[in-house]
């Protein structure tokens, strides 16, 4: 049977007054998923770009793929006897461990999105496609599924829908989900046991950052951190895989290279300041190593660049990114409670971003006013 005809046939049931009117948004989402919508702008003039939200989101998801696939392999590799298996066996093991987290995150998040857009009588947005993929990548593989579900629900409702849905949120929803788990169930997201999928007694190990915080040295080499064969959250370990994603994002113009560059610059600058102080062994860790260990690179490439929560002006982007880098390294080195500072730094700067934009725009207006006065 012709699919188009079938969709047209069942369409009236989902319109106002139809049998399934309560599922209108869901129907609409799947129809536009199957076919390009032929609705035209009914009033006023619009400038449309073929690079719509759907395409932007898909490119984001594609950019996440290298880090995700490597993360799955790494989950297998971090088993107690992981190195004895082949790459494919390790990947398959990790795939089976990570897939449930991805499914839970998508099912919970999308059902809330669908329900709330139905209540608001809006179309379902594609915003959660990326968030739903980011959440599994920034939690440890040992996180219980119900915590992922609860955190996803919390972040979609409190951080996103309350503010008006996709594009209206102040804070990055994926990071809010992580922050929820971090503050609610601290023991499930930090420590020595959560980074491994196999619950073998005696198989534990701290992340590089915890080791740094304890002794100022880590057993994992720079090469390991670049490739990513170290314990950590699922998607964050491999700097090379993350940079592959970054290349795609910058080449397609989906994410701002200014933010990425300035986050790294900020982290490096703050690291150098602490190198100069050098009060303890941790502060003497070479500044550039901060950029490749932990979640720094992942945050810089995929989280800080979120176009909704980042600063919008170009000057603002430089300031915003630089401050994220500065704060992330500051929290790592100075606050003993949080081995990883990237989450806090990005969330904090998410809140400040509108203020930065305000002053950048303000300064621009003043500069132009001055020029007008000079011309007179």
């Amino acid at each position: 049977m012709d699919l188009r005809k079938y969709v047209d046939k069942i369409k009236p049931a989902f319109e106002e007054g139809g049998k399934f009117a309560a599922l209108h948004s869901t129907f609409d989402a799947f129809e536009t998923f199957l076919y390009v919508p032929n609705t035209r702008t009914s009033k006023g003039s619009h400038v449309r770009d073929c690079n719509d939200l759907k395409r932007v989101m898909i490119i984001m998801v594609l950019a996440l793929m290298p880090a995700l696939i490597f993360g799955m392999f790494n989950v297998g590799y971090q088993r107690i006897d992981g190195p004895e298996y082949t790459i494919l066996q390790n990947f398959w093991y990790g795939f089976l461990k990570v897939l449930p987290i991805i499914i839970v995150s998508y099912v919970v998040g999308l059902s809330i999105e669908f329900a709330s857009s139905q209540i608001r009588k809006e179309e379902v947005n594609e915003g959660f496609l990326v968030t739903g993929m980011l959440i599994p990548m920034i939690v440890p593989v040992g996180t219980p599924l119900w915590m992922v579900a609860l955190a996803t629900a919390f972040s979609v409702v409190v951080c996103k829908e309350v503010f008006g849905g996709t594009g209206m949120n102040i804070f990055n929803p994926a990071l809010v989900a992580r922050a929820f788990i971090f503050f609610s169930y601290t023991a499930s997201i930090s420590g020595e046991n959560v980074w491994f999928a196999d619950n073998v007694d005696g198989h534990s190990g701290a992340t590089a950052l915890s080791q740094w915080a304890d002794t100022g040295a880590t057993q994992y080499s720079v090469c390991d951190a670049l490739i990513g064969t170290i314990p950590g959250c699922i998607g964050e370990t491999s700097t090379i895989a993350i940079l592959l994603g970054a290349l795609l994002l910058v080449a397609t113009g989906v994410a701002s290279w200014r933010i990425m560059l300035s986050v790294f610059a900020g982290g490096l600058a703050m690291g150098l300041v602490f190198n100069a102080i050098g009060a303890n062994a941790y502060m003497q860790v070479p500044a550039w190593q901060h950029l490749i260990y932990g979640g720094f690179a992942f945050g810089a490439v995929f989280m800080a660049t979120d176009p909704v929560t980042a600063a919008q002006t170009n000057t603002g982007k430089w300031i915003y990114g630089f401050m994220i880098g500065v704060l992330a390294v500051l929290i790592r080195l100075v606050n003993p409670g949080y081995p990883e500072g990237m989450m806090m730094a990005i969330l904090f700067m998410n809140g400040i971003a509108p203020l930065i934009d305000h002053y950048v725009v303000d300064a621009n207006i003043r500069r132009r006013n001055k020029r007008v006065k000079l011309a007179k």
């Binding site: 219980p144 119900w146 915590m147 409190v158 309350v162 503050f183 609610s184 169930y185």
Partner: protein
Amino acid sequence: MSKNIEEKEPLFSAKNMASLTNPFNKNNPVLVQILGICSALAVTVQLKPAVVMALSVTVVTAFSNLIMSLMRNSIPARIRIIVQLVVIATLVILVDQFLKAFVYDVSVQLSVYVGLIITNCIIMGRVEAFALANKPWPSLLDGIGNGLGYGMILVIIGFVRELFGSGCLWGYKVIPEWCYEHGYVNNGLMLFPPMALILVGFIIWIQRSRNKDLQEK
């Protein structure tokens, strides 16, 4: 005689009852007037201190309203604030001493927040907005209503925070051990004040979606 009849109003007239019950619904001091948020965040980690705090504030609002209403015609308007402060401070000290004498452990838990009842905006707000312009009986009802309306929110938040934050209610374990054995973990975020603020937000959300006339355009 005729004067008496003129002023006669039944003790529980509709108007008087409204000043008692409105704070529970459309004029809740926490949800609608957004007063008393600070202590709603500070003392609601557990149910018991929340209930004690609710009762203490109710006693203070009720009697400060009553006393100020009795004195309303004899206080010069220019010094009324200082008189209010004296009355409220006296009542707060009485409540504080009472708690120290009879429920010492809760008093220790509440620490400075008993003394800080004096800064709770609800009390002075009600005295200024209601007691100074109304007779003693309605003022007393208004004080009780607002105190309990505030207390209601405290108890709801305290209930949720203690249940999910530490698995207890009134200090007794209510979440059974087998839940923990099957992987349930207490929610640490509930123990932080920000979560109380988010809960207040949720309650405001529910209340506004039920009362259409509270929704701002």
